[in-house]
Amino acid sequence: MNFPTGAGTDHCKRMKLLPMELILGEVPWIVVLIILPLTGGMACFLFPTISKSLGLLTSLAVISCVWGLGWQLEEDGAQRYAIGGWGAPLGIDLYADGLSLVMVAVAALVGLGISVYSSSYFRRDKANHFWPLWLFLCGALNALFLSSDIFNLYVTLELLGLTAVALVALADGSEALTSAMRYLLINLMGSLFYLLGVAFLYHSFGSLDIAILAQRVEPSPAVWAAVGLISAGLLLKTALFPMHFWLPAAHASAPAPVSALLSALVVKASFYILLRMWLEIFPIVGISFAQLLGLLGSAAVLWGGIQALRQTRLKLLVAYSTVSQLGYLFLAFPLGMSIAWKGALYMLLSHAVAKAAMFMAAGNILAAGGHDRIADLSSITQRLPLTLTAFSLAGISIMGLPPSGGFIAKWLLLEASIQSGQWWWGAILLLGGLLAAAYVFRVVSHVFTQAEATHEAREVPARMEWTALVLALVVIFLGVFASWPLAMMEIGSPFGGGS
């Protein structure tokens, strides 16, 4: 684990740079990334009349911040920033390496898509509530991906959970409120497990900073208890089988853009924390735990896929697809090689974009037809070619067929499973792909029927259709231009040296 010195080491070098690069180099993008959405959220709350424009502006600004951060990471390697100038162990540190960069980049990209989609989706009264909540959630996400302090992670996790619950409850209706309540209770339960684990960890090693803990950690009963508690809490939030029961209802009953951000981003946050801890702190834990995660992941892949096939409503189908796809991420744990981590991360990245596109497409279908019963989709789907194209392209990634990000991820994970001799995880990957093909084509085949395009369908704003399509196209591009994101993941070597 390296301790990079942060920005601005060689002043002579800087003198010769252009103003643009000076700005890029000197501004602490890592902090701006957190403060910007929070400020934006507050501004949206205070000025509801211009909240839509403020929201879009903030999303755009976040993208440029990510780009700035990426530039800094390219130039100087991994970044560490001490908040307030106090350093760890007492102060709170922010840390950015390739892994966090990929996460904030995904959040920013998908976030922009969601912002654009929501600007057309919500009516005035709902929009006033949506924008502040959404921007706070953005801020929480960014803070989570950039924190190096495990208690800070708890705070961000809670903020994330509360805003997500509030967003789910935006949909009104008893179904949404029920799933929001259940989601809230689950969130609180998970966070408390996590916090108890943090308490034990702190007591054992005297620091809350991940880097410092990584150096000090030693096996002991307290640490094992802590690891167990933290993992339990995070797995509950990531909806790993069998703790996935809350997810389909919550993701399906929320408004479409909220479903998108839940499936794409929120569940990935707790996974990220687990991954971080696993890479830095948990290596003392024995192999049995990794195999357990792989086993549960496989169960998730198969169970989620089978359940998705049985659904009668589109949004529930997509939600169960999330349960299934999340299972893939856990296959990397028993494989444990650098290539497996990269594969899982690429899967995370592709799934985020693809699932967001899919939920947006489902939202369009729901908006046009007033219902999302799969059996009756034929007439609506004929009217929405752009949306169905988006759904199909996203589906290609979910199935893991080329050319898509999902295919690249599948290839990497297969390579890892064959190389390490644990071929059964590869078999799960392939089976999951077959199940995914079954449920994706179940929906897509409705386009090719003899049903007449219905005239009762409501108009879907072009912006909503195009956002879904653009995000779906991004996933296809991820399948062709894969070397750049893969190189990005390497910055700061979060996965250790090769193998």
Partner: protein, 498 residues
């Protein structure tokens, strides 16, 4: 970027971009759509012609894109690729004309032609693929692009056929993916190399390589309709005739066979494959398919289904040629790739003409139809005799080379298979000809459409006649200096030790 790197991409783009544009055209823009279709088909042939000419003059065409560390997407022009790509592009032009005529007044034409163009793009990608990864990418793309064409009509039957098609092809694709990744971890590369890249591997890996070969053949065999993976093909006949023509002559089935050629020659290498003992089982499987397909064809009354089973049988000639593992037999297999394509497309065009003009779908309805549609049935006769293997038609040469190759390689039993299947071919084609030419026509046809003095519309007739002419030409010109035989020999020589 110079011509050498740009040209393969341009060849791909010549159908990809117009295809995407066609999706956005509304149904009424007939002229725009037709012009786009024809223009892109012609452009593609021109570009490929240019690439071929350049290749003959020593230019090296290759486009690369880094996909994963150590693996690129590669498009490369070589003798084998050019064989397949010229076949595809040429037949695509003909089929485009045919499809424009066939689908006049049908709904969803923009959607159809969009996917049609994407299919050809995928096929060209398969042809030009320079490594197994690129092949896999375009192979799966082909599955995705052909599905909408099969279910185009939207009927329950079409959708069921589409579902079956998907089940077979996606399963096959998964096997292909597994084998590709496995080979990559073992060999560290997937580039197609003359004489293969696997012979240098440690002998302890040989059992694994045999297993991988089986997986590869299974994955490719789905599309190549090897027994018992052929189940989707007869069902896919519900698609409109241009789709059946394209699928059976060029795109899907040939892609599978082409893949098998690539695997045996440029991944394993023919000598290594023989050493591992892989060629004999493959030959047996191919022979079984040949006989099975011909037998099933005998009992079909529906014309397109009989032709479908005939395809199942005929494509395996290509695989048999490869599996017999001698240079002469391989030449036979390769030229049959072309011949079967041209002949089969002729037959399907005729079937389409009969269905469109007279509403005939069954052979029992074809009494005396030759006097009503002489040009069509003449073309059918040529195609049928080619299939049977009568000289001087194209099919004769393929079978002759296959037989001679079998003798050379001391696999005499293959001759029995060839002879047997030729007899069966005659058994299921000659009755059709007899019925069409010599039986008394009924008083009225099932659903006649009049085209004035012509037997059917120009757009349907001309492609049929053209491909029939090509069958004749390929046969007559087979031994000519720049003929197909020369070309095939060149390809084959690269695969065998000098």
């Amino acid at each position: 970027m110079n011509w050498n790197t740009a040209l393969p991409l341009m060849v791909l783009g010549s159908s990809l971009l117009p295809g995407l544009m066609i999706f956005f055209l509304s149904e009424e823009h007939v002229v725009a759509r037709t012009s786009l279709n024809l223009a892109s088909a012609i452009l593609k042939i021109v570009l490929i012609g240019g690439m071929f000419w350049g290749m003959l003059h020593g230019h090296h065409y290759e486009s690369r894109l880094a996909l994963l560390p150590g693996l690129d997407l590669v498009l490369r022009a070589g003798p084998l690729s050019m064989l397949f790509v010229l076949l595809s592009a040429g037949l695509w032009l003909v089929t485009t004309v045919y499809a424009i005529g066939y689908l006049e007044e049908s709904p969803y034409r923009s959607r159809f032609f969009g996917f049609f163009s994407l299919c050809v793009t995928a096929t060209v990608g398969i042809a030009l693929a320079g490594n197994l990864m690129t092949f896999l990418v375009f192979y799966e793309l082909l599955t995705l692009c052909t599905y909408p064409l099969i279910v185009h009509r939207g009927t329950e039957v079409a959708r069921k056929a589409g579902r079956t098609y998907l089940i077979y092809t996606i399963f096959g694709g998964a096997l292909l993916l597994l084998s590709s990744v496995w080979l990559y971890t073992l060999a560290g590369t997937l580039e197609f190399t003359d004489r293969g890249f696997l012979s240098g591997l440690d002998t302890s890996l040989h059992p694994t390589l045999i297993l991988i070969f089986a997986l590869l053949i299974a994955g490719l065999g789905v599309k190549a309709a090897l027994f018992p993976l052929h189940g989707w093909l007869p069902l896919a006949m519900v698609a409109p005739a241009p789709v059946s023509a394209l699928l059976h002559a060029v795109a899907v089935v040939k892609a599978g066979a082409f893949g098998i050629v690539r695997v045996v020659y440029d991944v394993y290498g023919i000598e290594f494959a023989t050493d591992l003992g892989l060629t004999l089982p493959l030959a047996i499987l191919a022979s079984a398919t040949i006989i099975y397909g011909s037998l099933r064809a005998l009992f079909q009354d529906e014309l397109k289904r009989r032709l479908a089973f005939s395809t199942v049988s005929q494509v395996s000639y290509i695989v048999l040629g490869i599996a017999v593992a001698g240079p002469v037999a391989t030449i036979g297999g390769l030229i049959h790739l072309v011949h079967q394509g041209v002949q089969k497309i002729t037959l399907f065009f005729c079937a389409g003409n009969l269905a469109e003009t007279l509403g005939i779908h069954k052979i029992s309805e074809m009494n005396g139809v030759a006097w009503r549609m002489p040009w069509t049935m003449a073309a059918f006769t040529i195609g049928a005799f080619g299939m049977i293997g009568a000289p001087p038609l194209a099919g004769f040469f393929s079978k002759w080379y296959l037989a001679r190759g079998a003798l050379d390689a001391e696999q005499d039993w293959v001759i029995l298979i060839l002879a047997g299947s030729s007899i069966l071919n005659a058994a299921y084609f000659l009755p059709i000809l007899y019925i069409a030419w010599f039986k008394k026509p009924p008083d009225s046809w099932p659903a006649e459409r009049s085209f004035g003095r012509n037997e059917t519309s120009w757009a349907l007739l001309i492609p049929t006649v053209v491909t029939a002419m090509m069958t004749l030409a390929l046969g007559l010109l087979a031994s000519a200096p720049f003929g197909l035989l020369e070309w095939a020999s060149q390809i084959v020589n690269r695969g065998f030790a000098q």
